[in-house]
Symmetry: C5
Subunit: 94 residues, 5 copies
């Protein structure tokens, strides 16, 4: 799964009817202090997340198991709002 920050929202009136009722949020993946830009992406929301929230996102076909209509064509879904993320900084490189 990926940790990211909700940075936006998307509206689409004309869409697959199986997507009706879903909220689509734009997620900026965490960089964990690394020197690289991660690609923004859009996820359906299953948690009531809002702008600025740190969220846990599941990608791929597993995303469909999180929403009520498991035939909805989604490939990313917010499955949790992150309370805390503890990273050990002293990990040696290998």
């Amino acid at each position: 799964m990926i940790v990211g920050t909700v940075v936006g929202r998307l509206w689409a009136t004309r869409k697959d009817v199986k997507l009706n009722g879903l909220t689509f949020l734009v997620v900026k993946p965490h960089s964990y202090g690394q020197d690289r830009q991660e690609k923004y992406f859009v996820a359906a929301d299953n948690t009531g997340a809002g702008i600025g929230d740190t969220v846990l996102v599941t990608k791929g076909s597993s995303a469909r198991t999180s929403i009520s209509n498991q035939q909805a064509p989604i490939d990313a879904v917010i499955v949790g709002i992150v309370d805390s993320l503890d990273i050990c900084k002293e990990t040696p490189n290998e």
Copy 2:
């Protein structure tokens, strides 16, 4: 899901018969102001999108749930035409 702009169209006469009737559009993924080139790709269209439209695309095996023949060998489908996309610019880096 990915947001992109429809920039082209592909024709293929000789193809898997399960693809008959589908429209194939070339999509350029949004860069969200980031300094990187995203790879173009081809998506089946389920929305009647045209050149220049901003679209929402689902990738992977979930793409198949959006079209009538769910055995069609596709891995990307346009599932919506984007009305608006609001991005919050003040998100701090982490």
Copy 3:
């Protein structure tokens, strides 16, 4: 889906028996004029494609829906031979 050019062929005598009878071609993905090298990969062929042909390729588990033995362990398949590909050059950056 991905557009690419067939640039080679692979032979493997010792292989999973469910792959028997399939042709394996090496595909070089199109760069669409972008300044990046895409990774070559191997796809099963369902169209009779040959060296130099421009092809449409489906990746992931959806590739299996294109061949007769849907339990064959493949993750990429050529699903069409491209007649033409029209790209609109004037798309503004966003």
Copy 4:
């Protein structure tokens, strides 16, 4: 599969109920001496791994087959704790 080191842990109180009872660990992929930074990611744990352990991780929809609730929306799971990893250094480039 990917080999990585467990470098952190994630807590989320508000989450998909199908994730209840799972432990979420942050994994830093091995670089095998290569000059590139791999993206950290979050995996559910099925092995009792802890900070500093070298682990084997399965990604994608196959991750779901490792846990008791195969409808849980996860896309990465720690499936083993690595005892040893022998890499042959003399492999020629091709």
Copy 5:
């Protein structure tokens, strides 16, 4: 599918029981003469491959269709040992 060279082996005593009996090999993807480093990864072996062998690897959920326990949590499997790989060098860029 991906072509690579077997460069190592991984041992894990503590692992998902559905992985018992499988061999895990480290694969270095071919670069086809391109100037980029590909990420090493771990694949289950279904062919009796050894260090130095050139192999064909299937990734994603399709990997599971190659082994006897199709519920084993794997996302990459060696499906063939490559006899030869012919690449046409004269392909023009596009």
